[in-house]
C-alpha cells in the first residue's frame, strides 16, 4: 500500500505538488492523468525517491520511505520511463538482469527469470537475449523496458508515459500485455499518461491532477459519469469525443430481435422463443407496426394451445424513438419493468431492442473501439 500524506514540492516560487493526500491499495492499477505540467511525473518520482518532497510524507506498507535508503528502496520498486532508457552498452539479457544483479542474485537465479520474462512477452530467449537494444524495434525495446522493471519481482511498478512514443498499434498491444501481466503477477502499478483513452482502458482508479492538486480520484466509470470538474469533462472530450453526448438510442440497440405477428399461435411462439433462447418477443400488427410484447411466462400462465398471442399482449415495455437521446434512453432502460426498451422507427415499425447487455456492449465499443463478441 502506498500512502501520500500532505506531500508538497516546490521549485522556487512554483508549487508543483500541493498537499497531496491519497492511498493506493495493493494490486491496484492507478493511472495519474492531467494536463502537462500538473505534477504527474513529480508525484511518481517521489514514490521511489528520485524526488524528495519538501513537505509531507510518503508511506509504503506503513513505512515512511524517507527513512529508507533510497538506493535500496529503488531496487524494490520497478520503474519504466517514456524514453525507455535501456542501457545501450548492455545486451537485452543484461538489461533485464540489471536489478537482480544489483541485488546479488546468482546467475542460476537471474537467468531463468530473464528467460521466463522474455517468454511472457513473446520474445524467445534464443533470438533476443544477446541482442543490443539498438537492434530492436521501438515496441520491443519498451517491452524490455517493462521486463527490466519486473525482473526482481517488485510489488510496485512505476510507469511514466511508457507507451507515449509508440505507434497506436504497438501501444495497444503493450497496453494489453501490461494489463495481463499486472493481473497475472498481481502488481501494484502507478501509471502516468496524458491520454484519456489509455487511462480508461488500463485503470482501476484514475487520479486526475491539475496544478499539483488532485481534482478527482475515482474509477473510470465514476469519472465518466460524474466528472468532478469541468476540466475533467473537457479533458475527456478532447480525447474521446465526449462519450454519450452525441449518441442516440439507435447506437445501443440490437437489431436481431424476435418479432411475430399477433396472429401467431401460442405453441409456435413458445417454440420460437425457445429456439432463440429468449423469454419474450415483440408482437407486430399486420402493417408491421409495433403492437406490444409477449412473454413466455404470460403464455404459460394464460395460454392454451391454439390461441393467438395478440390476445395476451402486454404494453409495459418502454418505447423510444430511434433518435432518442442516449441519456433518456438509459434512464428508461433502468426503470423498465421488463428489463428492456423497444426502439421504433419514425413509421412505428420496430427498429430494435435495447437490453442492459446491448447497452453495455455499445458503451464498451464507444470507449474502447470495436469488440469481438
Amino acid at each position: 500500500m502506498i500512502e501520500f500524506e500532505n506531500v508538497s514540492k516546490s521549485y522556487g516560487e512554483s508549487k508543483v505538488l500541493d498537499r497531496l493526500n491519497f492511498r493506493i491499495n495493493p494490486g491496484e492499477f492507478v493511472v495519474l492523468i492531467g494536463p502537462s505540467g500538473c505534477g504527474k511525473t513529480t508525484t511518481l518520482r517521489t514514490i521511489n525517491r528520485l524526488i524528495e518532497p519538501d513537505g509531507g510524507k510518503v508511506f509504503i506498507n506503513g513505512e515512511d520511505i524517507s527513512k529508507v535508503n533510497p538506493v535500496q528502496l529503488r531496487r524494490t520498486i520497478g520503474y519504466v520511463i517514456q524514453q525507455i532508457g535501456l542501457f545501450p552498452n548492455m545486451t537485452v539479457e543484461e538489461n533485464i538482469a540489471v536489478v537482480p544483479k544489483l541485488l546479488k542474485y546468482p546467475k542460476e537465479k537471474w537467468q531463468p527469470i530473464v528467460r521466463e520474462l522474455l517468454e511472457l512477452v513473446g520474445m524467445p530467449y534464443k533470438e533476443n537475449a544477446h541482442k543490443y537494444p539498438s537492434e530492436l524495434s521501438g515496441g520491443q525495446q519498451q517491452r524490455i523496458g517493462v521486463l527490466r522493471a519486473l525482473a526482481a519481482s517488485p510489488p510496485i511498478v512505476l510507469m511514466d508515459e511508457p507507451f507515449g512514443a509508440l505507434d497506436p498499434i504497438t501501444r495497444e498491444a503493450l497496453q494489453e500485455e501490461v494489463k495481463r501481466i499486472q493481473k497475472k503477477l498481481k502488481k501494484t502499478i502507478v501509471f502516468v499518461t496524458h491520454d484519456m483513452d489509455e487511462a480508461l482502458r488500463m485503470a482501476d482508479t484514475i487520479v486526475f491532477m491539475s496544478g499539483g492538486k488532485i481534482l478527482q480520484m475515482a474509477s473510470p466509470e465514476e469519472l465518466l459519469q460524474n466528472p468532478a470538474d469541468p476540466l475533467i469533462s473537457e479533458f475527456m472530450g478532447k480525447h474521446k469525443g465526449a462519450p454519450g453526448a452525441s449518441l442516440t438510442a439507435g447506437d445501443f440497440m440490437k437489431t436481431r430481435v424476435l418479432k411475430a405477428s399477433r396472429k401467431t399461435q401460442t405453441l409456435q411462439s413458445v417454440e420460437l422463443m425457445r429456439k432463440r433462447d429468449v423469454n419474450s418477443m415483440i408482437v407486430v400488427n399486420d402493417d408491421d407496426t409495433y403492437a406490444g410484447t409477449v412473454s413466455l411466462d404470460t403464455i404459460k400462465a394464460l395460454g392454451k394451445a391454439g390461441k393467438e398471442i395478440g390476445d395476451m399482449m402486454e404494453d409495459q415495455a418502454p418505447i423510444v424513438n430511434l433518435n432518442e437521446d442516449a441519456h433518456d434512453t438509459f434512464e428508461k432502460l433502468y426503470t423498465s419493468p421488463v428489463g428492456y426498451v423497444v426502439v421504433l422507427n419514425d413509421d412505428k415499425t420496430v427498429a430494435g431492442l435495447i437490453t442492459k447487455t446491448s447497452m453495455a456492449k455499445a458503451m464498451g465499443e464507444a470507449l474502447w473501439g470495436e469488440m469481438l463478441s
Binding site: 521511489n48 528520485l50 538506493v71 535500496q72 528502496l73 529503488r74 531496487r75 524494490t76 520503474y79 520511463i81 517514456q82 524514453q83 525507455i84 532508457g85 535501456l86 542501457f87 545501450p88 552498452n89 548492455m90 540489471v98 536489478v99 544489483l102 543490443y132 537494444p133 539498438s134 527490466r148
Partner: protein, 201 residues
C-alpha cells in the same frame, strides 16, 4: 642509426609513463568535476592555466622540485596532458542523455555503480580521444626534456642545434614525428572502432 634505438625507446617510455599517470589523474578529476558541481569550473580552469604556462618555465619550476632527470620531464608531461583528458572525460560524462542517468538511478544503482556500469562505458570513446591527444602532444613536448637533463630524442636534436647539423636534428625529429603519426593513426582507428561498437549508434 642503431644508437638511436635506445633513445627512441626511452622517449616512448617517458611519454607512456607520463600519459598513463595523467590518464589516471585526469579521468579522476574529470569524474570529480562531473560529480561535484561547483568543482568543475575550478578544475577545468586550473587545467587550462597549466596549458598556457610556457614549457620552459614549467620545466624550470618542476626542476626546483624534482631536480634534473626523467622524473621532472614526466611530471611536466603529466601536467600538460591533464587538460585534454579532464576536458574530454567531463564532456563525455556530461553528454550522457538524461533519461539514461534517470534509468540507472531509478533501477537502484549507487553513484559508483552508475559510473562504472553506464557512464564510463558510454563516454569511453571521448575519454580515449582525450588520451590520444595527450599522447601525441606529449611526444613532441618530451623533446624539451633534454634541457633539464632527461633522456629521449631531445638529445640528438639539441646536439644538432649546437653543432649546426641538420642531419642530426632530423635524426631526432623524424622518429618523433613518425611515432606521433603512427600512434595517432592507430588510436584514431581504435577510437572509430569504439564509436562504431558503442551501441547507441
Amino acid at each position: 642509426m642503431s644508437n638511436l634505438t635506445p633513445l627512441i625507446i626511452e622517449h616512448l617510455l617517458i611519454v607512456l609513463a607520463a600519459v598513463a599517470i595523467s590518464a589516471v589523474i585526469g579521468v579522476s578529476l574529470g569524474i570529480l568535476s562531473y560529480w561535484v558541481r561547483p568543482l568543475d569550473k575550478i578544475i577545468l580552469w586550473v587545467a587550462e592555466i597549466i596549458q598556457t604556462i610556457p614549457t620552459l618555465a614549467l620545466l624550470a619550476m618542476l626542476m626546483i622540485l624534482f631536480g634534473l632527470g626523467n622524473i621532472t620531464i614526466i611530471a611536466g608531461l603529466v601536467l600538460y596532458a591533464l587538460m585534454p583528458i579532464i576536458r574530454n572525460t567531463y564532456i563525455g560524462l556530461e553528454a550522457i542523455p538524461a533519461h539514461l542517468k534517470d534509468a540507472a538511478r531509478g533501477m537502484g544503482m549507487s553513484k559508483p555503480q552508475q559510473l562504472i556500469k553506464i557512464e564510463i562505458p558510454f563516454s569511453l570513446p571521448l575519454i580515449f580521444s582525450g588520451i590520444k591527444i595527450a599522447l601525441v602532444n606529449s611526444l613532441s613536448i618530451a623533446v624539451m626534456g633534454v634541457l633539464i637533463g632527461a633522456g629521449g630524442l631531445g638529445y640528438p636534436i639539441y646536439r644538432g642545434i649546437q653543432t649546426n647539423s641538420l642531419e642530426r636534428i632530423l635524426s631526432g625529429a623524424i622518429p618523433v614525428v613518425l611515432m606521433a603519426m603512427i600512434l595517432d593513426y592507430l588510436m584514431t582507428k581504435m577510437e572509430k572502432w569504439m564509436v562504431r561498437k558503442s551501441p547507441q549508434n
